[in-house]
Every structure is written in C-alpha cells, then in structure tokens.
C-alpha cells in the first residue's frame, strides 16, 4: 500500500511537468499577449515591460526559469495583469473562497444525492422513485447559469432575504446561493449513480442472504448494501470535488465571489500567463491528489481491491 502511494506520487512529478510544458506551449500559441491593448504600446515601452517580466528571453529559457522558481522557491511569479500582486497572492486570496463554497457544495451534493438515490432504489418503481428520478433529472437539466439568476430573482429581488452577490469574508448569507447553484447538478448525478448502483447491489446474492437471515431492512442497507453501492459514487466524487473547490466560473462571475474560477477565466482572456500557469498547476495537483485519495478509499471499501 505504501509503495503504491509512493509510486503514484513519483508518477505525479512527470505528469505535472508535462502539464506545465503543455500549458506553456498552448498559452504562447494563442494570439495576442498580456500587454496588448486598444492602444498599441510604443516599442520602447513594450521592450521595458518584456524585460521586466522576462518575456524577452528565449522560450525554453522562460519555461526553465518558471519551473525553477516554482520548484526552488515556490514562487509562481508576478501577475502581469494585476501589477501589485503575485500569483501566490492571487491564489491565497481566491482559493479559500472557492474552497469554502466548494466544500459545502460537496457536502450538500453528497448528503442529498445519496439520500435521494438510496430512497429511490429501495422504493423502486414507486412514487418515491419517480419523484427522486424526476428531481434529479430536473436538477441536471437546469444548468447553473440558469439556476443562478433564478435564485437571485427569488431570494434577492422578491423575498429580499439574501444579498445578490459578493462574499464579504464568507458570511453565511453570501454562501447560500453559490452552494445551491453549484451543488444542484452534482447532487443530481450522485443521486442517479447511487440509485442505479444501489439497485444492482440490492439484487446481489449477499443481500438476498442477509435478508433471508431476517436482518431488519435498515441494517441490510446501512451495513451491507451502502458501502459497495458507493464505490461508483466515490470514483465520481474525486474529480467532481476538484471541480467544486477550484470554483465554478459561472458561480464566481455571477455571484462576484472573488473566487479562483473567475481569476482563471479572466487570466486566460487577459493572457496573464503567470496566473494561468499557477491555477493550472493548482488544479492539476489537486486532481492528482484526490484521484489518489479515491484509489485509497477504494481499497478500504472493497476488500477485493488490493494494490
């Protein structure tokens, strides 16, 4: 097990390097640059700026310097767009925001999704099943860019209960709507995955045995069926969790949370190379780590899986 974890972490290093190089190349291949503007800069001004940010150096040198800075000093460089801040500042400010509402979204999606899925499976083909399926299909069909304005319309404009956006240090009133908007479609997916996998498990022999022994239903479900039924949910949850905590562009932009998703998109539009790289690496590392965590959880839940 430990050697498995170690091996996976070793593989992560070249994976991230490939990610860095690939992103770098794509980024530079995009037309335009961070300092293009409506008003083209005089060549001498442009030369000064390029010298300041090291953009006048050969391409390979730039990649090398960048990687060197990250590895040796954990320095992701200065933001080209927001001159008084470094990429580390940008991430330090934006990531806690998305982590907060992303974490709560994951909790909400998991709790409601699994409950809904289990309820639907054990009351298969009853009104409860149809209701649960209906809710999850409805929730999945409602994209968050439709969901967000509807929430604002109801809770802000009509009821006047919640502020229409902002973050304000993460007070709960400001977190509610981003969490609902972000968790809904994840919840729907989790409900559907749980339902179908639960149905499969409930029809397997060991459950039939448990029922034949005369165990009460809640015991069969909680102690025997739920754990194996959650395996597909867990493999879904790894990448989904990364998606949630690194922020949704729609949620960030719509609710003006100041989260990292907004920085990511804006930096791509502004060709803010350093910020694009910083966030790409962050998302990459989180994806690798959470996938590793999923694999470990797998082994813990399913005794058939051994590394």
């Amino acid at each position: 097990m430990y050697s498995f974890i170690l091996r996976r972490l070793m593989i992560a290093i070249p994976t991230i390097l490939i990610l860095v190089v690939f992103s770098f190349v794509l980024m530079y291949a995009a037309p335009g640059g961070p300092f293009n503007s409506e008003r083209p800069l005089p060549p001498e001004v442009m030369a000064n700026i390029e010298a300041k940010y090291g953009l006048d150096q050969p391409f390979l040198m730039q990649i090398f310097n960048y990687v060197w800075g990250v590895v040796t000093q954990f320095d992701f460089g200065p933001s080209f767009q927001y001159t008084s801040r470094t990429v580390n500042d940008v991430i330090a400010q934006g990531f806690p925001v998305t982590l907060t509402y992303g974490f709560w979204s994951a909790v909400v999606a998991l709790v409601f999704g699994v409950t809904l899925g289990v309820a639907a499976a054990i009351r298969h083909n009853t009104w409860l099943d149809y209701l649960a399926v209906g809710i999850s299909i409805g929730a999945q069909a409602l994209p968050n860019f439709v969901m967000a304005p509807i929430l604002v319309l109801i809770f802000t404009l009509w009821l006047g209960l919640l502020p229409g956006g902002g973050w304000n240090g993460g007070q709960w009133q400001y977190v509610v709507m981003p969490v609902i908007a972000l968790s809904t479609s994840y919840m729907a997916s989790i409900a559907r995955i749980t339902r179908s996998s639960m149905l499969e498990v409930m029809n397997s022999n060991f459950i039939r045995t448990a029922q034949a022994k005369g165990l009460p239903m809640h015991r069969v479900i909680l102690h025997h069926a739920l754990k194996p039924a959650l395996l597909p949910v867990i493999s879904y949850l790894g990448p989904a969790f990364v998606g949630m905590i690194t922020g949704s562009v729609v949620v960030d932009v719509f609710f003006s949370t100041g989260g990292i998703g907004q920085f990511f998109v804006n930096s791509a539009f502004n060709r803010d190379y350093a910020v694009i790289m910083g966030i790409t690496i962050l998302v990459g590392v989180l994806t690798i780590l959470l996938n590793l965590l999923v694999d470990i959880l797998y082994a813990w839940i399913d005794p058939k899986i051994r590394y």
Binding site: E38, R39, Y82, T83, S84, P149, V152, L157, D252
Partner: protein, 544 residues
C-alpha cells in the same frame, strides 16, 4: 511670462468654508443646496472588472483611475462641468514660448501619514512613470504630454534626471515641454501625473498600494481590498480640504455581469450601475428619476484597411463613401442601442470641448437620399449584381457589437446588394489582428484622453500607432501639427473633419452615451463632465 490662472479659487474656497461650518455644527444639511443629508453617507457602485492597479504611475483602466482619483490628487482637478479647478496646484503660469509651465503648489497639502506634499513628490512621480525600471504601460502618456527628454528616458538612453521637470523649491514645480501643447494643463488631471510617496514605495516595492501600506494625498484612503470582489475607501483626515467631504465611505463592487449588477441595483445593494444595451427605454419609463443618459467623449466606428495589401475595393473612395452612406445610424442608435447615443457623421463627438461639429454633407441628407447616392456611387465604382462587392467585417466578441454588425450588414445587403460576412474574435486576438492589418473592415472605438478634438483626430495621423486604417494624408498631418500652435485650432479640426467626410477612411457610426442607473438620493453626479472624471468628495446623499 503671462499669468494664466488663479481659477476661480476664491469661489471654491468660499463654498468649502461653508461646507466645513455646516458639518462641524452637526447640522446635517448641504452647505450649498441646504438639502437634508442622509445619516449614512456611503456610496456603493459597480465596477465591471477588477482594477489593474492602484499605482498612479501604472494604472491604465477606467475603474482603476476612478479609485486613484479619489485616493490621490494631482496638480489640477475637473469640476462638475469638466473645467479645470485647482488641485494640489493653486495656479500656474506659462512662458511666452508656451514651453515652460510653472505651477505653484498649495502649502497645506498633506499625505495621509501627515507629511507635506511637495514639488519633489511630483518630480519623483513623473520620473518614475517614465522610467524603464517601472515599465509602466502608461509611460506613453508622459510622451504624449511632450515633457522634454521623455522619449530618451523611456528608451533608457538618458538618465531620469534629464526629464524636463524640476522643483526649484517645495512649492514650485517647473515643467519644460519639447513642443507647445495647448491642452497640456488639462492632461494633469490624469492619474499618470499624480504624486506618489517615494519613501513608501522604496520600503514596500510593488506591494506599496496594498491597504496596509498605501499612503495617499487625496480625499480618501484605501481601507480594504479583496481582489475581484470589493475595494473600500474611507475619508482621509489629512486631506487639505477634508472638511468639505461629505461621503464617508466609498465601496466599489466587482460585478462582471451587467444584468446581475442591475438586479442588485434594483434590490438596493448599489447606488450606481450601468444600463445593459437596449434596456434604457424600459428602465427610464419605470424609474424616471434613476435612469440617466448623457453624452460621453467616445466614438464608435468601422475602419477600412487601406494598406497596400488591403482589399482593392476599399482603395476606391466611391466604395468607402457608398458604404458609409448606406448605414442608417438612426436605426442603430434608436433601435439597437436605445440608450441615448447619438448618430455620428463626424469622427470627433459633438461633446468635445471647443469643438463645433462641422456641417458635412452626409449629415444634412435624409436616409433615402443617402441610400440613393450610395447606389449611384457603388455602380460608378463598378460593383453591382454582376460584380457584387463582398468583404468581411471584424469585431471583438460581444452581444452589442454583434447586433450592430448584423444591422449594418443587413443595411448594406438591402440597399447595395453588398455581401458583408461577420467575423468575431476574442479581444486579445482581435487586437493582434487589427494591429497587424489582418482584416478588411474592423470595428474601432476611442475615448478621449483629454477633452480636445486632437485626441480623436490624432488617430488619423499617418504616423500614429493607433491608425489601424493606415490612412495617409499629408494635409491632415500638416493640419494636426499646425493645430498644436494655432490660436484657433478649431479651424484646422473643421478642415480635417471635412477631409475625412470626403475620403471616408473610417465609417463613424455613433457617439457614446453614459447610461446609468443612479440612486436618486445620490446628488451632484457630474453628468456634464463628458470624460466622467468624477470625485467621490463632490457627491453627497440626501435623506429620503
């Protein structure tokens, strides 16, 4: 030397003294209007995007400049009508050859840490703005101001102290220009020319503008900044005219989506927001006291590519004329934009100071006459049913730009049988393509850097880096040069507009309007300041 300006300082001082008295007594009434003031004086407004910087020498965007104008104060300020009033300078004199400006600085101006603001702070700031080390994207502004020696300093070929700005004593600032510039003093209301605190910058480097470090000399200081979410500024007790300030706190909220911003405005979270395109008629009916539209100093146009390797068709002036004539601008401003914008037949907006729109022929015609003339011209140029004109029109991705492009291409198709294909590109890609001449017909827009016609007409000067058409007319160049020293530059500008109307290197489409929702309790918004150089310290809220 001729004494030029004391600038109505006495009136201003009187008003200020009254303001101080009224507030000090705790009478919550406005010193001039007598209106009862609201107890909470907080102004909250929406900004489209996070500001690029709060460093006066570096800031390049509108939302950043708005904040910087509150935090710092330069030599001169704008009043509500866009006229110059004293800032840190109480007045100035200009030499007979119009090359030397001597500013007298007030002796009570202070930084927020209590240190006096001196002429040396300006010298430091100007040298810094031009320095290769700072590498400011706005270094070109110093060059536009024609400060002596600036280009060599920017290029790193001359030391910083060779820049034509000096401080003979703490309260005198002398600026040497390399060429006379009638609008030079106007340019000192811009952030790039504001003083900066040397000691603080040297201590904290790039991080000096963060709320914990920043020291500023304007009516407000920065108290909080959460990037991409909000920035908050509160009144500066050290400001020389602090007694006249009424708004206590100013909050700028970053809201990317303008419809979401409007919703939050309607929910009472904001005092000001922009009106999304097309929604002004509805809002002005529902909220007549809050929906505002007023002229802005910006134009919107399409530029032909007139380079050697550009489209052959556009080299024929009759084709350019025909296309310009066949655009029904009234439909665009009244039906597509519907926000009080005005149809443009000249490049320079009518709102520009000291500029009278010359009577160009096209403006006087009806649209039917224009269309008839356009059909004739295009036929003369050899295009018609058997040889249809086709080209691509390029704009940057945006709903409003697309609507306008669709409308224009339909007008051309219906009137002239012209096939205009629409192409849109994301902003950075668009800038690259347009700058490299990789287009046939491209969208352009310009907001004046200062309130004078040359800020627009310079775009058509043959050597200008912003002349995307690569339009080259020796007479225009000469007239522009002459306008710099002319007693009445208006004559030159009129002639240039006539030449543009004849040769049509660009198609002016409309001139901008500022279209806002503004809380009706917020008073004194400078709607007549076409550059929208507003200062929070001029605003106040009345009790509802």
């Amino acid at each position: 030397m001729t004494l030029k300006a004391t600038l109505r300082a006495s009136t201003a001082a009187a008003l200020i003294a009254m303001g101080g008295a009224a507030l000090a007594d705790g009478h919550a009434t406005h010193p001039v209007t007598g209106a009862t003031l609201a107890t909470e004086q907080v102004f909250t407004y929406r900004v489209l995007d996070e500001h690029s910087s709060l460093d006066p020498g570096v800031v390049e965007d509108v939302s950043g400049s708005e904040i910087v104008r509150d935090l710092f104060e330069g030599l001169m300020n704008d009043d509500a009508d866009g006229n110059l009033i004293p800032g840190v300078a109480t007045g100035y004199t200009v030499s007979d050859d119009k090359l030397t400006y001597t500013f007298t600085l007030r002796d009570n101006a202070k930084w927020s840490n209590g240190e006096p603001v001196t002429a040396g702070d300006f010298v430091y700031a100007w040298r810094r703005a031009a320095s290769p080390e700072l590498a400011s994207p706005y270094a070109w502004y110093m060059s536009l101001m024609a400060v002596e020696g600036v280009d060599a300093v920017i290029a790193g070929e001359a030391p910083l102290d060779s820049l034509g700005v000096s401080a003979p004593d703490d309260h005198t600032l002398v600026v040497q220009l390399s060429t006379p510039l009638p609008y030079f003093v106007q340019m000192t209301t811009h952030a790039t020319t504001f003083p900066v605190p040397q000691a603080v910058i040297e201590e904290f480097g790039d991080a000096w503008t963060q709320p914990d470090h920043i020291v500023s000399n304007g009516a407000y200081v920065l108290s909080e900044h959460v990037p991409q979410e909000r920035s908050v500024r509160v009144r500066n007790d050290m400001y020389w005219n602090n007694d006249a300030t009424i708004i206590e706190e100013v909050v700028a909220l970053v809201i990317n989506d303008e419809n979401q911003a409007l919703t939050r405005y309607l929910a009472g979270e904001l005092d000001r927001t922009e009106v999304p395109a097309g929604q002004y008629p509805r809002l002005s009916e529902e909220y007549p006291d809050e929906a505002l539209s007023f002229p802005r100093l910006c134009n919107y146009y399409y530029t032909f590519n007139l380079r050697e390797d550009g489209p052959e068709a556009f080299k024929d002036v009759r084709v350019r004329q025909a296309l310009a004539l066949a655009v029904d601008r009234d439909v665009i401003v009244d039906n597509v934009l519907a926000g009080g914008q005005s149809a443009a037949y000249t490049f320079t907006p009518a709102a520009t100071a000291d500029f009278t729109v010359p009577s160009v022929e096209m403006a006087a015609m009806t649209q039917d006459e224009r269309n008839a003339r356009a059909v004739e011209l295009l036929a003369e140029a050899g295009y018609g049913a058997d040889n249809p004109l086709a080209f691509e029109m390029l704009y940057n991705t945006s709903d409003a730009h697309r609507s306008i492009a669709v409308a224009m291409s339909q007008m051309w198709k219906q009137t002239l049988g012209v096939e205009a294909t629409l192409a849109n590109q994301e902003w950075q890609t668009f800038l690259e393509a347009r700058g490299n001449g990789d287009f046939e017909l491209a969208r352009g827009a310009w907001c004046g850097d200062y309130n004078e016609a040359s800020t627009f007409l310079d775009l058509l000067q043959s050597g200008s880096g912003y002349n995307d058409a690569k339009y080259d007319n020796a007479e225009v160049d000469e007239l522009l040069m002459g306008a710099r020293t002319a007693e009445e530059p208006q004559i030159n500008y009129t002639r240039i507009e006539e030449i543009i109307a004849e040769e049509m290197p660009v198609i002016p489409v409309y001139h901008y309007a500022g279209v806002y929702m503004l809380n009706d309790a917020l008073m004194n918004w400078p709607v007549d300041n076409v550059q929208q150089n507003w200062y929070s310290r001029d605003l106040y809220k009345v009790a509802e």
